[in-house]
């Protein structure tokens, strides 16, 4: 199992029956494949859909039915449609149980940067700022380091912020990190990962929880 799958599988275990969850584009979207059997979780797509079904076969794609990543999706029994303003009213109103997003940088104080690189990239924040400002539980799903081995988890983000002090938990292939008032606390550690490796690959101090547990994918 690769690191990304471990992250997705571990986060999926946090989902409870009856949860309404928004999954960000990329790695967070893959969490949907690992929802534990026997529970019903309703996935929200901020372009106006509750109850995202699996991807369709190519000949069954409907251009009027897409997710926020603009990929064709399907419906499930109980799905509903609504407008963008209503979609964000339910997000802003705190009705989502969890929002799972990716990160370019995330700080030990829960600041998140995931939308722009000044002078290099013009994309836009989409719904990310709304989601992190209002979701009761914001989980960042990200690979622990950048592609060239640099820090993604840092003391202070150098990139423009998506939200300040908004992230509650960070899940990487190394383990589970909780953002606390005292800083970053590692509560679970992946198999074969040492505390030294975690400290070395993280750009801010990491406290290890007294009850540090192994992070299992299932």
């Amino acid at each position: 199992m690769n690191g990304k799958e471990l992250i997705a599988r571990r986060i999926a275990r946090e989902l409870k029956d009856g949860f309404y969850v928004n999954l960000g584009i990329g790695l967070p979207t893959t969490v949907a494949a690992f929802v534990p059997p026997g529970i019903e979780v309703v996935l929200q797509s901020e372009n106006g859909l509750l109850g995202i079904g699996p991807p369709p076969a190519q000949d069954e794609e409907d251009p009027d039915l897409i997710n926020a990543g603009k990929q064709p999706v399907t419906l499930l029994p109980g799905s509903s449609f609504f407008s963008s303003d209503q979609s964000f009213a339910m997000i802003r109103g705190g009705h989502m149980n969890m929002s799972i997003l990716g990160a370019m940088q995330v700080s030990c104080r829960g600041d998140l940067a995931n939308w722009t690189i000044p002078g290099k990239m013009v994309k836009g924040m989409g719904g990310a700022m709304d989601l992190v400002a209002s979701a009761p539980h914001v989980v960042v799903a990200t690979e622990h380091n950048t592609k060239d081995g640099g820090f993604k988890i840092v003391e202070a983000c150098s990139l423009p912020l998506t939200g300040k002090g908004v992230v509650h938990d960070i899940v990487t292939e190394l383990g589970w990190f909780h953002v606390s008032a005292a800083g970053l606390v590692m509560t679970e550690i992946a198999e074969g990962v040492t505390k030294e490796a975690v400290a070395q690959r993280t750009g801010c101090p990491v406290h290890f929880a007294a009850g540090l547990r192994p992070m299992l994918p299932f």
Partner: protein, 234 residues
Amino acid sequence: MDKVINSPDAAVADLRDGMTVMLGGFGLCGIPENLIAALIRKGLKGLHTISNNMGVDGFGMGLMLEAGMIASHIGSYVGENRLLEKLVIAGQLDLTLVPQGTLAERIRAGGAGIPAFYVPAGVGTVVAESKEVREFDGKAYLMERGLRADVALVKAWKADRHGNLVYRMTARNFNPAMATAADLTIAEVEEIVEPGQLNPDEIVTPGIYVDRVVAGPEYKKPVEGRFIKEHAQP
């Protein structure tokens, strides 16, 4: 009462250079593609557009950008448009990025007679620059303004001649809010039916918001990812 206009070109005939225009859609889903084509044929210039995205290179609002029609744009995500990125970095296009939910609510408020309101999105970020920050119950919020336009171009599934609109699946997105927030609202639809044929319980946009209805003669409705792949510039 008959709001039906017989062609997209006739529906936009009195639009002028420099207008502020809202365009519905999310990505290429639920965009008024026939009205966009009519605007391009008309060759308007200096438009101030408000839309969640900017189409892609080669389709949707991307075609308006390529035709040099757009002076400024307000949106939340423009990542699928390389020409736009180039123009913004070169300082040739005035782009304002707004959090998507704030954009949707600004438009809703604009249509509902609400000049300003407070949201938490963007507190502590560049979005907060030069905006009033106010604390309510211990949490910080930004003041955001309602947003209106001269013209809204929306896309619905079906309309009757009173302008009542129903939408299809996720092609609804920004269209219902935009329909309420402009001095002139033009709805392009796939099918026009007689009053009474739409179930009143299912009408999303009541006709009071809609000034003109036009049936789009043709719908391409590309799936965005595949369109980008097939039209990628080497």
